[in-house]
Amino acid sequence: MHIPDGVLSGTPAGIGILVAGTALTAAGTALGLRRIDYEQMPRVAMLSAAFFVASLVHVPLGVTSTHLVLNGLVGLVLGWAAFPAILIALLLQSIFLPGLGGITTLGLNTLTMALPAVLVHYLFRRPARKGGGTAAMLAGFGAGALATMLATPLVVPALLAAGDGFEVLAKWFLVVQVPLAAIEGLVTASAVVFLRKVRPELLDAPLWLPAPLEISDG
């Protein structure tokens, strides 16, 4: 998912895609920043941190392996604020962690991960917050899986438009995305269940724990 520097910057089409990605990300980030208030801020930072670390979690897939992305979880909790959260996390990944993304592709990478996150937010936030246990779990799975799958229609055309020799990369991407989506779904589902048990206000959901018996003295 992290497109490195130099893959797209070789062709005019690729440069156009990079510029477009950066512009759209700037717009999304501006929109997201307006939604952040006092209460939202620690949430944004926490999910940004989780996203930053998630890329170090490796998922073996046969001969190759890939890493977690967690953009579904970020989107589910943050909505449009996923843009600044993912932007910061990707920026720090490209600086600190070798081989993850790059500075020139920062805008495009943010777009391909944050846009599905926002979509997932509007699709699944209601069942994840208000639904029962099973509904919340399924919503979490759906959010994680769909956010991963939706990155594909954004990344693959970008790679194909860059032209020569990237068809192989695009194909590989398709093959890897499906099992990764399932794993992302499971991780996001368990995170949603966990958050609802421990910190339901993170999801703006009511507490699941049974209410204690009212003690009335007459």
């Binding site: 130099g6 801020m41 930053f52 998630a54 073996p60 190759t64 990369l169 421990v198 209410a211």
Partner: protein, 233 residues
Amino acid sequence: MAKPGLCRVALAAAAFFAVLLGFPVLAGPAHAHQLSVFAVFQGKAIVGEAYFRGGTPVPNAAVTVLDSAGLTLGQTTTDAQGKFRFEPQWRCDHRLVLRAEGGHAAEFTVAAGELPSTLPAREIPEGKTLADKQPVPPGTPTLADKQPVPPDTPTLAGEQPVPPGGAAIVELSDRLEGVERQVAGLRKELARYEDKVRWHDVLGGLGCILGFMGLSFYFLGVRRRERLARRGG
């Protein structure tokens, strides 16, 4: 409403992050999808290897060799161990570009200074492509017309007559080769070390995020104070 106790929440959060942070440790060597290339000049050729970060070799991958201007000098392929070999024909920077699955690319440059001075310098007149100028096999004295060499002086590239202290020189060059190999090994280790994700990088990133959060709180606070002041006045 039974709010979960602070203790329980802290415990749960600690567990969550322990799992998240524990994974990379367990999965350390399987850090397999970012690529790296490393190469040095050894003996007569540039030898190198391509590996996924963490050390797994990249077999059967195409390595394109470019000069500093981006013109293709040649191409080679990695073997089953991810190793490759390229005989340079020019003394110039060699950029080795590896492209592999998943949109991942890696690059390594062997500087001109590493190559032996017996190779001809690369000079391409502007507007000409590589095809115009056939590579001259090493050993051909291309510089001869610029710097006329006295006929008696044996050139480096030509056949070297064995000087009187021949045995000593042979021994010395053997040792030199050994040192070269050791340096190559060290450089390889260094390149691998740089590729590794280290704890302080991860903690540094998390610290930065916390710092950004603090900064944002500050600006949010300024905005709120201004709003309150406006309302109050």
